[in-house]
């Protein structure tokens, strides 16, 4: 379009004579920076760092499971002991049972919700998506605490349980459903969103019934998403520690067993065995997910067009009712926990008070765990964003040291297959070992930061890599031809282009660091107790209202961070990145 501005005047005609000489602009000889050496060194450092924070702790866990309690090698005898001990096997079976039930409940529920969000003309989709994602912003155990208020011994709806106690499998199952719902929803929304509208047009052109279209087009397209969601939910439930701790009562599961073995009985080898058992579904999920992604990519071609749902009053009204029910249960449950944190004495005195936010009354540490959490989460976000993004850049954009880059990539993908509790156990064994000079870190905030970073490394890494892949791969080639080293291009081009992603990473890491319990439960020291751990302690001590209050503060902080991101994106990024818009800016 702007081509016409030039009219027919060719650039050759308008050449100023002076330009033709094109004087040598640069001195002939220039000091060359040892770019390749620096790049290779940086990749090596990245490999070492990932090895230290991911591979070595996991390796130690593996070795520990083969050790006898006295330190000698015991081979597989720990595993034999495990399966010969009925109480331990019970916990394993309990975990599998609960996880199976949660999958059976959550995946269909989330599928219906995702269907409403992607395939219908239901109003307020953005709002319903946001409401359903609420559990991501709170520690998992908040849903457990909320259920004790609702269905517990003093709960206002306990009649619904017909005399059964919420403390045990019922409570765990319900709380895990709430906690796992958004995780399944995200996967299914993505799977259903990636559909080819042409297939629906073709089906409709051939006069196919709605039901048949659903069975022959919709379900096959979402099949991989369903499998993936099922595995993710299963893994989440098997490895979650917070909920069984709060609402599990006397019902043993793997996660609480691992904690009991390590913290309670100091039986490290048996703790390692339990950890490895928890690793099994996670690794399976990881492998299945890889396989699925390979197949999924072939479903959509560049010629696909997105599906645009058309209004259908009856269906849209039905799914609206359904979405309101589901979102209502989620928001209601979490709302009860927040409300309860302001209640004077549940359920006898429903007067409002801020007393429960005076944490010193419930726990001698007072507010300090919250500040620890904040410091830890900010550190993880700041250090993690930098490390992850720079690391992804080195792996994705540099051509040097292919073996090193492949190794770093492998290590970066590993944490996705490792539940937090398992990683935490690995850290206990590795960073608490007398032979390890790094054991000075044990109990420090620094170790909590490193552990949390390792725990959430993969998702952040994949996000950064995806953003970097969208940048023209020739930028580095052009820079090299202009004799500009890669770190200049990183600073002047890649980083500014990826700024929205970088902020996204920051908030992702911050929110998860604020809410995580499972990995850090083994690693905190007397002066570095985190807010999420304080919740566990206060709940254990019976000061449930204070626990709910602390969880509410965490949730408010995490939501605040997400809101701040939205505002920054809306106002700051939009203004600072005028280059994304086609219209000229004044």
């Amino acid at each position: 379009m702007a081509e016409s501005v030039l009219g027919t005047s060719s650039l050759v005609v308008s050449l100023p004579e002076a330009a033709l000489s094109l004087p040598k602009a640069l001195p002939a000889k220039r000091r060359t920076v040892p770019e390749a050496a620096i790049g290779t060194a940086l990749i090596a450092v990245l490999c070492l760092f990932l090895l230290l924070i991911i591979a070595l702790p996991l390796g130690t866990l593996l070795i520990k499971s083969l050790e006898a309690p006295d330190g000698g090698m015991a081979g597989l005898s720990n595993f034999r002991t495990y399966f010969a001990t009925p109480t331990l096997v019970d916990a394993l079976l309990n975990s599998l049972t609960v996880a199976g039930i949660v999958v059976a409940l959550v995946v269909p529920l989330a599928f219906g919700y995702a269907y409403a969000l992607t395939r219908t003309a239901m109003p307020f989709k953005a709002l319903f998506l946001a409401l359903a994602l609420l559990p991501l912003f709170a520690p998992s155990l908040l849903s457990g605490i909320a259920l004790t208020y609702i269905l517990g011994n003093q709960g206002f709806l306990r009649g619904l349980l017909f005399g059964h106690s919420v403390y045990g499998p019922i409570g765990i199952t319900l709380a895990e459903c709430l906690y796992a719902f958004p995780h399944a929803l995200i996967i299914l929304v993505t799977a259903l969103g990636l559909s080819d509208g042409r297939l629906y047009e073709a089906a409709s052109a051939m006069g196919t019934s709605r039901l048949r279209t659903f069975v022959t087009v919709t379900l096959p397209g979402a099949r991989y998403g369903l499998v993936s969601a099922a595995f993710v939910v299963f893994t989440l439930v098997v490895t979650d520690f917070g909920i069984p701790k709060v609402i599990g009562g006397q019902y043993p599961v793997l996660a609480t067993d691992a904690y009991r073995q390590v913290v309670g009985q100091q039986n490290f080898p048996m703790g390692a065995v339990v950890g490895l058992l928890m690793l099994v579904p996670a690794v399976l999920a990881f492998i299945v997910d890889r396989l699925i992604q390979r197949r999924q990519s072939s479903l959509l071609s560049a010629r696909s067009v997105p599906y645009e749902p058309k209004p259908h009053p009856v269906r849209d009204r039905l799914v609206l009712v359904y979405a309101m029910l589901v979102a209502g249960v989620i928001v209601g449950t979490y709302g009860v926990a927040v409300w309860a944190s302001f209640i004077r004495y549940w359920p006898y005195n429903l007067g409002l008070t801020l007393d429960h936010y005076d944490f010193a009354a419930a726990d001698s540490d007072g507010w300090s765990p919250y500040w620890n959490s904040l410091a830890m989460a900010l550190s993880v976000a700041a250090i993690g964003t930098m490390t992850v993004f720079c690391g992804a850049y080195l792996i994705e954009k540099l051509k040097l040291f292919p073996a090193g880059r492949a190794f770093a990539q492998l290590l970066a993908m590993l944490p996705l297959a490792v539940p937090g509790l398992v990683l935490g156990l690995g850290y206990v064994f590795f960073f608490n070992a007398p032979w390890n000079p790094l054991n000075v870190l044990y109990g420090t905030l620094a170790l909590l930061v490193i552990n949390t970073l390792a725990h959430y490394y993969t998702v952040a890494h994949v996000t950064a890599t995806t953003a970097l892949k969208q940048i023209d791969p020739e930028f580095e080639a052009v820079s090299a031809s202009l004799k500009v080293p890669f770190w200049q291009t990183f600073r002047r081009v890649s980083l500014p282009i990826c700024l929205p992603t970088v902020l996204e990473l920051f908030v992702y890491l911050f929110v998860n660091a604020m809410t995580t319990v499972s990995a850090v439960i083994f690693l905190y020291g007397p002066s570095t107790k985190l807010a999420a751990i304080a919740i566990v302690h206060m709940d254990e001590a019976g000061t449930t209202a204070a626990a709910a209050a602390m969880a509410s503060v965490i949730m408010a902080t995490a939501l605040g961070a997400r809101l701040a991101l939205a505002l920054v994106n809306r106002f700051v990024i939009a203004r600072a990145q005028g280059w994304r818009r086609r219209e000229a800016t004044a």
Partner: protein
């Protein structure tokens, strides 16, 4: 060609590159003179881009040597080789203004700021975009973006300019204009230039010499006229322009037997009499008008179909005698009007002996 001097500016010898089992380049030898404009031409996957990237140092060859300006740069990183490059995607930095893009390689050169500004203005004037400095790339058209990429590549006054399919992403009109402009600019600056393209018209129009590549090897190097008129291989003949091939057998003294017909052919190429060859000729070289049955290489054909293509009409001709295949002839619009060809019509055509080329049978394109 007049710009070439005795010692080549760029010399590539024995260059090979494999990707796993796939041989991208197989022992390439090539010399390019100072100030020459050379096109690497070939179908996708022929290795032309790989060769360009090896010369730039963006990929590393498995074996072979690259000498630029008398310096062996075979193992040197890109930054140590003196070149500017323009990609098909332009690869303009979207978050930097046009001026900052052009200045990108200058700022790093510790050049005083005022000098950088002056140089950027000079370069933008050079590519015909004097007022566009403060804009961002997204605000420019494709053709303008490609000019900016060109200015950026020229900013550091490299001695070698590499163009990797620079015009492929543009629409036809802009492509033709920019093609002329790049060529004029290159001539005036006298900068040695290599351009990769799969578009034969582009290569013929722009290059001093064309390097035709196929399956990781060079098929022919020559001026556009040379490779068009005297294609060294059946591949080149078929890839550059169109060519009809017929199975033939070399006869005695300038005779070649095609089916039941003996033709006079001046292109013997030392084939042993009796050996099978593939006989090729271009559609526009078949003489259609004013052919008498007694003319050299004249024979009768029936017009099977006519395809109107604007400036000319493509006629599919069925020989009355067996030639082992049908012929394709391009008839100019004028001649077509004079002859008033109709489908099913019988007429005499001839194949001028100079237009016939014999290729070895193995070199089936």
């Amino acid at each position: 060609m007049t710009l070439r001097d005795a010692t080549p500016f760029l010399r590539v010898s024995g260059l090979s590159k494999r990707y796993g089992a796939f041989t991208a380049l197989d022992g390439i030898d090539l010399e390019i003179g100072r100030g020459e404009f050379v096109c690497f031409l070939g179908p996708s996957g022929c290795g032309k881009t790989t060769l360009l990237r090896l010369i730039a140092g963006l990929d590393r060859q498995d074996s072979g040597r690259i000498v630029i300006g008398g310096v062996d740069v075979s193992t040197a990183p890109p930054a140590a080789r003196d070149f500017g490059i323009v990609f098909q995607s332009y690869a303009l930095f979207p978050n930097l203004t046009v001026a900052a893009n052009v200045a990108y390689g200058l700022v790093n050169g510790r050049m005083p700021k005022a000098q950088v500004t002056a140089r950027v203005a000079e370069l933008l004037a050079l590519v015909g975009l004097p007022e566009q400095g403060p804009k961002y790339p997204v605000q420019l058209s494709g053709g303008q973006q490609q000019r900016v990429a060109l200015a950026r590549a020229l900013a550091t006054s490299p001695s070698l300019l590499l163009l990797d399919e620079p015009l492929s992403a543009l629409d036809a009109k802009v492509r033709t204009r920019l093609r002329d402009e790049i060529r004029q600019l290159q001539k005036r600056l006298g900068i040695t230039t290599i351009m990769v393209t799969h578009d034969q018209e582009e290569a013929l129009a722009m290059a001093d010499r064309v390097v035709v590549m196929n399956r990781g090897a060079i098929e022919q190097v020559g001026t556009p006229a040379e490779i068009y008129r005297n294609p060294a291989t059946a591949f080149v003949a078929d890839f550059i322009g169109a060519m009809t091939f017929l199975d033939a057998r070399v006869g005695s003294a300038r005779q070649i037997r095609v089916g039941a017909v003996d033709l006079v052919c001046e292109d013997g190429r030392g084939f042993v009499p009796g050996s099978p060859v593939r006989l090729g000729f271009r559609p526009e070289e078949i003489r259609v008008g004013n052919v008498r049955p007694t003319d050299v290489n004249a024979f009768q054909v029936r017009v099977r179909s006519l395809e109107f293509l604007g400036a000319f009409t493509r006629a599919r001709l069925e020989p009355s005698l067996d030639l082992g295949g049908s012929l394709v002839a391009d008839v100019s619009a004028n001649l077509h009007g004079d002859l008033a060809l109709t489908e099913g019509q019988y007429l005499y055509v001839s194949l001028p002996p100079a237009a016939l080329r014999a290729f070895p049978v193995a070199a089936r394109p």
